[in-house]
């Protein structure tokens, strides 16, 4: 690369020549429809401005026209790699407003699926991030393992993606028969494969060259911009809402919060990889705590449907079911903010109710939005190729950014 001085020697007019190029919105390595306007000085990035809104979906407007049960289904589609944690944040927010007690077993199952989702989400990140760095095969391996997790989700919820399995008051259905064995099989096989994949990248000089010391994101910047999740933990701060603001009895589980102190893409990489192993530990502990079949939703008739046999034999129950499905349940007036630790950081919902069955204001605090805002800082002064590393290493999801 020609330095500024060399160019100035050749032709003084070339000294401040910068070039503006567009990355995206359709570009193979931008993880969706992200557009980045790059100002380049040769191969160096002078300025990187993300331009978003190409996937703006109007979730917040649509949610105001839906009842609380219906809103649950659209939360899936925010961060579509981790639908279960989105569901969880939403149902916890509504439950907190209505002051509903959820059976302990249902909460444990929620933990189980949140962690499965976290593993699935990190697997897609690992595959695509490493693919952006130039290694193709790991993507196929990671997608293969993800399919196993999707099978587990499909067995329980009936759908591979966007399951809406968590409902206000508990779960949509009980776990299917033989689910424990399926998860145990997964727990037996997966760590071995994961370690194989880990060894593919661990100490690989090509990967290290692309990650070490690239796209620095320090702790003060994280504070300033509200960056959370693994990106934050790569600056050495063990801030994890599962530990610090425990929900769903997370405080009963033993797991570590992986941190690194280097603040670079390499640190963020290993924080996520280690989180996969920690999630496996939690899943293992959940299996020991829950019975294969049992209570899966509250019996509070305010939010849960009456059982089938009651509907067929009892007029009131039938009317109640009809009312609950068509009109929804009212939520007391007020506001609440409930956050959970998603795979990308703090996933929160801010709800305002006017006492009716539909939310007055439905605000999703989606982590990728705040993480992506740091893009101009972390991509600055790097090379063009490092912009791709930067996008991959902060692990954004465009559905989450554009909402």
């Amino acid at each position: 690369m020609a330095t500024k001085e060399m160019r100035a020697e050749r032709d003084p007019a070339l000294t401040d020549e910068t070039m503006v190029i567009n990355l995206g919105p359709q570009h193979p390595s931008t993880h969706g429809v992200l557009r980045v306007r790059l100002t380049l000085d040769g191969e160096r990035v002078v300025k990187a401005e993300p331009v978003i809104g190409y996937l703006h979906t109007g979730f917040e407007k649509t949610a105001e026209t839906l009842t609380y049960q219906q809103c649950n289904t659209i939360t899936d589609r925010l961060d579509y790699l981790a639908p279960m944690t989105n569901n969880l944040a939403f149902v916890l927010a509504v439950e907190r407003m209505m002051d509903i007690e959820v059976p302990k077993r249902a909460q444990y199952v929620r933990v189980l699926f949140s962690e499965l989702t976290r593993v699935a989400s990190h697997l897609v990140w690992l595959g695509t991030h490493v693919m952006d760095l130039g290694a193709m095969s790991l993507f196929f391996y990671c997608m293969r393992e993800r399919e196993v997790i999707l099978d587990l989700i499909e067995a329980a919820a009936g759908v591979r993606m966007n399951p809406s399995y968590f409902r206000v008051g508990g779960l949509a259905y009980d776990l299917p028969e033989g689910f424990h064995e399926k998860v145990r099989d997964f727990l037996k096989d997966f760590p071995r494969w994961m370690t194989t994949y880990r060894n593919l990248v661990d100490g690989n000089p090509l990967i290290n060259e692309r990650l070490v010391g690239i796209s620095l994101l320090d702790r003060q910047t994280c504070y300033q911009y509200g960056v959370t999740g693994p990106n934050m933990r790569a600056t050495g701060l063990a801030l994890d809402l599962r530990k610090d603001e425990p929900y769903c009895y997370y405080d009963e589980f033993e797991f570590a919060v992986p941190t690194r102190t280097q603040c670079d893409a390499y640190a963020r990489f290993w924080v996520r990889v280690e989180e996969i192993y920690e999630s496996m530990k939690i899943i293992d502990q959940v299996l020991g705590k829950i019975s294969p079949q049992g209570e899966y939703a509250t019996t509070d008739r305010k939010v849960s449907l009456p059982p089938r046999d009651e509907i067929y034999g009892n007029m009131e129950a039938l009317i109640h079911q009809f009312k609950l499905v068509t009109a929804g349940f009212p939520v007391p007036q007020g506001e609440v903010y409930q956050a959970v630790e998603g795979p990308r950081g703090e996933m929160g919902f801010y709800l305002v109710s006017d006492g009716g069955p539909k939310p007055y204001r439905w605000r999703a605090r989606t982590p990728s939005y705040y993480n992506l805002q740091t893009m101009p800082i972390i991509a600055k002064d790097g090379l063009v190729a490092d912009v791709i590393t930067a996008i991959g290493s902060i692990d954004i999801m465009l559905g989450d950014v554009d909402k």
Binding site: P25, Q26, H27, P28, G32, V33, G53, Y54, L55, H56, T57, G58, F59, K61, T62, T73, I74, R77, Y80, L81, V124, F139, F140, Y141, M143, R144, R146, E147, R160, M161, N162, L398, G399, D402
Partner: protein
């Protein structure tokens, strides 16, 4: 089989006779290359369909091209926003002919649950669509079925949708 003597002799020598038209249709349908147009949730299922378990390479469609100039199929995978629509139209116009469009998922086909200001209520307002794949998101099998349907369409010699609808004006107003 009704082969005449000459054909029989040729076939014995390892030569097959066909029309140029049939031959080119067969070649076209066997290597439909899609342009990467992943937008939302459906894009993840589109990634699944190319990867290990579903392996779209069996049907010659695994080569997702980053440049529209090298692609003959556009899989619109996900919700299309008002801001994205002009981009989508431009990319479609850049594709060489003949070209086909698959609308993947409820959002691309009809707007899905997002009946609001931001989302185009069906991508067929912007580009002519050959195959609609339902689902939210459609399973990889469903997308694969859609691609097989498209292959059938190409094999039978039906024109792509944009040639069929001559009166179609389209475009974002």
């Amino acid at each position: 089989m009704g082969l005449n003597n000459t054909t029989k002799q040729e076939a014995e020598r390892g030569i097959l006779l066909t029309t140029v038209d049939k031959m080119s249709r067969w070649a076209q349908k066997s290597s439909v290359w899609p342009a990467t147009f992943g937008l939302a949730c459906c894009a993840i299922e589109m990634m699944s369909v190319t990867s290990s378990r579903y392996d779209l390479a069996r049907f010659g469609s695994e080569a997702f091209r980053a440049s529209p100039r090298q692609a003959d199929l556009m899989i619109v995978a996900g919700r299309v926003s008002q801001k994205m629509a002009p981009v989508l139209r431009t990319i479609w116009e850049q594709m060489p002919e003949p070209k086909w469009v698959i609308s993947m998922g409820a959002c691309a086909s009809s707007g899905g649950v997002f009946d609001n200001y931001a989302i185009i209520q069906g991508v067929d307002h912007v580009v002519p669509v050959d195959v609609y794949v339902p689902g939210c998101p459609p399973t990889p099998e469903a997308l694969m079925f859609g691609i097989l349907k498209l292959r059938e369409k190409i094999q039978t010699g039906l024109p792509p949708k944009y040639l069929e609808a001559t009166a179609w004006t389209g475009g974002v107003s």
